[in-house]
Subunit: 651 residues, 3 copies
């Protein structure tokens, strides 16, 4: 696999006279790729049916002539204003029934059939014109599906589509739906599918089965919207097709959509995400203000490697301060290079910087680019050039399977949102806590989808918080060779959001444990773990033993305790190969449990110094210092923004 | 009076085959009562006019055959989905005009005439079928009026009804209304009643007279809605009629509705209420996380004893973690028994546990029951059984009049909400502060309505915060034999929310004091009280003297000071029998004042240890330890969740 | 210029029998002015077309007969209820499209043509009746434009007017608008002006150019609304015309509206503003709870002196606790006198107390007056009388030009709101920080509009945060004799909200500096300044050197550094006469920079003791102690609420 760089470019924003020079400077910087076109609908089709291809032809020609490879975006994320005249009801509605109208971007409802037809039409035109030949090296569908909370819409179009989706799912049998959802509760039974409304504007919470079904439907709408574009592009082009996902946008199932695409890519804004997506404490927000969280980007790199089934890019890489976060500091010098190498360490094929030149107008005028608005070099350009040079000596890489698999399940994320039971309980945060703990132990991780059935080669498999577990996954985990960590909430609901009652959860073959009650706790009421568990096969410690809190389950059964509370209640129990954890462990407790499981699995761990992270590919070992100060590490003192790349001693 | 136990059961949720076993287990546990039916409309009337009585007949028969007494609920809190097709505008609207639609419960506006007719129809049918004979031992109307903020609706139906309500109140004379409300202010005068809108969606605050009138109207709508059901049930049945109220739901006048019913009952969720209804500090939320607030349940027990005019139940008693609070911990072992005995100590006839079996589906699937979802015993079942056994030795009780009366006035609660004057000032909190202070002094309390005119036998009468005082109450208090404590804000507004100007408030005969100005203060700006009041008949202290804060009045007049600020301004003044307190005292100040008044009234007080509370009935003295640890008390060391019941030495 | 006192009176609120006595008591107190009528429309025109002048004639006559001068308000802030029947769509809509309806005040949209016609009609009638003769000594238009966020409306009327306003601005050329706004970004281009919607209800932020245009339009609507009234009044009366502005209401351009009026006046509520307009810390909120912020009123006095081009009043002066702030404490004794003299120190002609008598009804029933609701003297009356007596010995005053000019630009305020870039960044706060720093240095300040072109006589000219600078201002500042302080963000956008790219900002002739990047920082991440700047012409210090934070720019160019960060980046740079500051300095940093500039300008400064402020007029020097305790000062120990007035030694 070749490692390459690129950028995002908007020829329609600039005088045509400078295109050629722009292209030349891109190539001189060492960039190979340039993404264009994804917001250009109003210039391609200035009025309905009037196509203006010539400028785009010339722009592509200019870029290709400079030896750049073009990624062409379908422009469906920004329908022009005339589209609204043709489809006045094309907008999504928010949970309060408020229109999300024209004037920025993503102003469409995924369920609107009229707009879908328009999208098929423009993609068809685009594919017909640019699909043949080899001018286009890759495609991008739309742009950042789900950004600005646009997956879930409460429009009339969405309601109609939801009713049909339910009709399909429940075999057009309304009593089957009533039974599956428990609608007898509170007399919520329906007589006909047409009576089913979206689960907003209720007096108190709607039936969680209703809401979860709506979340699944909403995700499916994104997937089918994307599939329509993919099918058209494939019919006219052999170039690979990508979409650019976002950080912590989880409203649609990326694993599912990824199966329809060739490449997963994502838009990585380490500083933009820090304040309100990472979940960092104020202390860490200050500490990592100019570097970004040490695990958040890595997590998404690993996640999108799974979504792309191995092929993944960073389509947009933050090159300086952005405009849209609560606070928008400048990166520490060296961080743009650092982030690029971090992506490569996780197996990225290509990293594109967003954007080539800072726009002096409109919403993102304070978003830095590789060039300043006056076309002078911005600081990131030199760092990109440095990576390009470094790549000439390390042009290719190969990703190896990691020793650890961590399952990430979008359906579980929605279910936790639908029914957190305790304020602030989030599946994403739970998985991130596990991911962080693994990283602090120096481990290289694969994220895998819940549809994974082959866990061969994994010494450790983590499946926290999988509130519903399909039979296939359950069987795969029961048969896995590695150490398996489940819980809390594993299998706590069936496919229709009911508590299984024949056998109480988690119902794992060979592990005699049942969750007989659950409780959620104030986050400031942690329960201390025991130093040395009584009658336990688990790890004793003389250090602070950690805590369990926020969410705890009461267990029944004979499985051997691995961790207990100080007053003797089981927290994690095991049968030697499968461990079930019945609560939300703090960092200390989680590391203690994982260290124990790694030891059992004979998987070596290496405690990372504060702010330091490491990762291995098939042939290289990377070390990163995320602190703004020098720090000691097993590979020597690392200055701020340091990246160390070493060949792996595979003897 | 017999003390009995019961539970809440939903036969429609379960296979008919297990009903008989359920009934048998209830009886074996020692339960006497079973409430059913209150959410079953969609099963009773599956389509409009198609009544399905047979299953309900069999369910009742099964329960009665097991020697259980049935409370049958009218199902009007959960109209089925077909009702919405018949009455598409039946919903309440919130303050922003947003529909509160179908999909959970309580989705109706109390002012909708069409829905009211439907309710009369179904109650009539229910009463005709089950009223005759003795199968039904008691009735419940609807369920938790006002829950989920459903008392106040801004619908068109509400507006029409409000206009008519005003027309009645002001003798169809629009100038009388304009004058009464001071509508000349800001040119708000109306020409016709039809012009009057609901007091929402105004540019800045609406006229408080307007808003208060709307709050009174909204309360009256609940009362007339309930009365319609009561009249129909009474025409067909001799069984007593109850309604199940909630904790800190104050949007309608429970005293008024209680006058139409035979029994008051309430739904007591000590842990569910702790986070956001009690007003506890985070420290106390942690401290009482598994026990509940030491005074909140007691207050409601006393309040609903007043509302039921002596006859009251707990219709729903929390038996384990619930699903709906911000955090949902499990109770400390023993607390279910503890809460049951606490209710009996306050004179409850019956305590019913909600619910018999945890439902594995729908909104409350994480609400614990006496049985687990797999039908095994949940922890609470054993505690219920223990109480049932204890009751065999103490089957009956008698409540005695308490030495202290505390007035609770729903109209005052609304007035303080309409015009708090200082952020966070709440009548409910003010009354609770007085109630807590009395309890810390070991006193047994009666809560009484503002319509009380006979205070014979009360050594101490508290009427804090009564912003409007009817002449009858004023006279009754002026003539009372006990020590009377008024203020702040007593009589500060007339019946139309105007400041009385002929004599400034409080205008109490024989107490020369006038409130000439008021101020509200940041809660972090308390004003110190004097240790020894100058020229004062009040108590001196060498301990910290307490503070007044949040709200203070400036007084004029010759009444003798009882408490003063450190800089000599009067805070409480007295004529020897009536005391007026001109500010919001802290716990220390309030205890100091109340201790002084008790001494004057020759009423002995006993300072409670932290977390300990006591109460006397006619024949018994109860002691409760609300702490999660053992604590010393006048009746010995009390373990956590301890209940001590002792005969009173009436010599 | 004579200094006089007055009050605000509502004859329509009171029985006619007491008018004469009220007038007599006003005169006896020493008041000269009485404002009436501004909320009386429903009494003047009881039904459409039915004018009731007689009561108003008699009221005016009564007041004039007592030698009071009458300010007559146009009643357009409170249209009567019948107006809504005539113009059901006259209301403003808020950002969510919610109606802001009848029931309080200011319930109209400035763009509604029907309501505008009604306003012209009633003002015409009023002017015709009371304009001739000399009964009316001054006029007030409407009341508190913009109060309760009423400047910006999202109604259909506003949309139509906005489209026309844009058509004018862009010469009816839609491609000119598209280009000016950069609408090519995200395909936001319009085909026709009619397609342009208001910038609300978008999926993510609207184009800042769009929003800023809408803010400018909204301001212009207020100005033209007011102008219509002024033109009518002028045609019938020679009396001066005023409007009463508010504290920190900045949604319309007061400088522009002031140019149409004769007198600026404002409504000064020092305690009402403290909690949520001043931006004070909780500590300062407690510290100044009964005195008000030491600079907030002074700032507005200076601001409205500029708006009134020298002639300004306090139309409403807080006389005791008000009803509308989060907390409403009583002023410290003496503060009503203090605030009055403070206004005179800043050049006020007249201070009117709001209101004469506390109303016992409606929204403001807890707003203190000079009289209590029972007509007895409230505490403020005595303080007003004292000022009146003091004025007999100091009846007149003259304002001198201050040595310091501080530009305040409403357009900049909107631009910072439209695009703060960092959470909480506010132009108003930035200007206030500069104003406070100047006051702590004992300086007397003129606020000037951004249209000022003559800076003769100013030793120091401050223009912080002027994100757009008109060419005229830029030239005037470049040619000014005094020391000029610019930045941050000076000239950062052109007139259409684009970043200038030919030369990067600030583009000041003779100052070689360019802002090449910007960043915003968490407020808890201040960057330390250097003690002694390297290669710097600026001030060194051995004291704590201060910090820069929240917002920082990266500079390029050869201008000499005056302040630097501890790690050597330039923060302020200068060419000897113009200084550009590239960040938000803290109090210490700002004082350090200003002290340096004053020294350069040979302008003496005098560090004020905590809570003490001073100001000079042409002939007097005032000293004020804002603390609630005595404090030492250059003019001796000042007791709480002290005002010292001394003749200036002009030798």
């Amino acid at each position: 696999m070749q490692r390459t760089l690129g950028t995002c470019y908007y020829p329609e924003h600039w005088r045509e006279e400078i295109w050629e020079d722009d292209a030349k400077r891109m190539a001189q910087t060492g960039l190979s790729w340039v993404r264009i076109g994804e917001f250009a609908w109003s210039r391609i089709e200035t009025t309905p049916g009037q196509l203006q291809w010539e400028w785009l032809d010339r722009a592509i020609q200019t870029l290709v002539s400079a030896d750049l490879k073009v990624v062409l975006g379908t422009p469906t994320a920004t329908p022009p204003r005339w589209m609204v005249d043709r489809h006045p009801d094309m907008f999504a509605l928010d949970q309060n029934g408020q229109i999300r109208g024209f004037g920025s971007r993503r102003h469409y409802c995924f369920s609107h059939e009229g707009y879908r037809a328009e999208c098929r039409r423009i993609v068809q035109l685009l594919a017909e014109r640019y699909g043949p030949g080899d001018q286009i090296a890759a495609w991008q569908t739309d742009n950042e599906y789900g950004c600005h909370d646009t997956t879930v819409s409460y429009s009339t179009a969405a309601r109609h589509a939801f009713v049909n989706w339910l009709r399909d799912r429940y075999g057009d049998d309304i009593s089957a739906l009533n039974k599956a959802w428990g609608n007898v509760f509170w007399s919520m039974e329906y007589d006909r599918f047409e009576q089913i409304d979206l689960p907003n504007l209720t007096v108190t919470e709607a039936n969680p089965a209703h809401t979860q079904a709506f979340r699944r439907f909403s995700s499916d709408q994104v997937i089918s919207f994307n599939k329509e574009q993919v099918d058209i592009l494939r019919a006219h082009s052999d170039a690979p097709i990508a979409h650019n996902y976002m950080g912590r946008v989880t409203d649609f199932d990326h694993h599912k959509i990824g199966a329809d695409l060739d490449i997963a890519s994502w838009d990585s804004y380490p500083l933009g995400f820090l304040e309100d997506r990472v979940g960092a404490t104020p202390d860490d927000q200050r500490r990592y203000a100019r570097q970004g969280d040490p695990d958040f980007q890595a997590f998404h790199h690993d996640l999108y490697r799974a979504v792309g089934r191995g092929r993944w890019w960073v389509m947009e890489q933050q090159p300086g301060p952005v405009n849209w976060a609560p606070y928008n500091p400048a990166p520490l010098p060296g961080m743009v290079r650092f982030w690029t190498w971090e992506a490569f360490a996780h197996g990225a094929e290509t990293v594109c910087y967003f954007r080539w030149r800072q726009a002096p107008f409109a919403q993102e005028q304070l978003h830095a680019g590789l060039l300043r608005p006056d076309s002078a070099d911005a600081p990131a350009l030199e760092e990109a050039r440095q990576v390009a040079e470094e790549l000439t000596e390390a042009p290719s890489a190969a990703v190896a399977q990691a020793p650890v698999a961590l399952i990430f399940d979008y359906d579980a994320e929605w279910a936790w949102q639908v029914q957190p039971h305790g304020a602030g309980l989030s599946y994403f945060d739970l998985v991130m806590d596990h991911y962080r703990a693994l990283r602090r132990l120096g481990l290289t991780i694969d994220i895998v989808p819940p549809t994974q059935t082959d866990f061969t080669g994994y010494a450790l498999i983590l499946a926290p918080g999988l509130i519903h577990m399909a039979d296939e996954l359950r069987q795969a985990l029961e048969g896995a060779e590695g150490q398996v960590l489940l819980g809390p909430r594993s299998g706590a609901r069936d496919a229709d959001f009911n508590i299984p009652t024949t056998t109480l959860p988690p119902a794992i073959d060979g592990l005699d444990v049942r969750v007989i009650a659950v409780e959620s706790l104030r986050p400031d009421m942690p329960v201390a773990l025991a130093q040395v568990p009584e009658n336990s096969t688990g790890p004793s410690t003389s250090a602070p033993p950690g805590t369990v809190g926020k969410y705890m389950e009461m267990l029944e059964g004979t499985a051997a305790p691995v961790l207990q509370t100080a007053d003797g209640r089981p927290v994690a129990v095991s049968n030697g190969s499968t461990t079930y954890c019945a609560g939300w462990l703090d960092a200390t407790g989680l590391e203690r449990l994982l260290t124990h499981l790694c030891a059992t699995a004979a998987l070596p761990v290496q405690r990372m110094p504060d702010g330091v992270r490491t990762r291995k590919t098939a042939t290289e070992e990377f070390w990163f210092n995320h602190l703004a100060k020098p720090t000691d590490s097993p590979v020597g003192v690392l200055p701020p923004a340091a990246v160390v790349r070493r060949p792996i001693d595979n003897d």
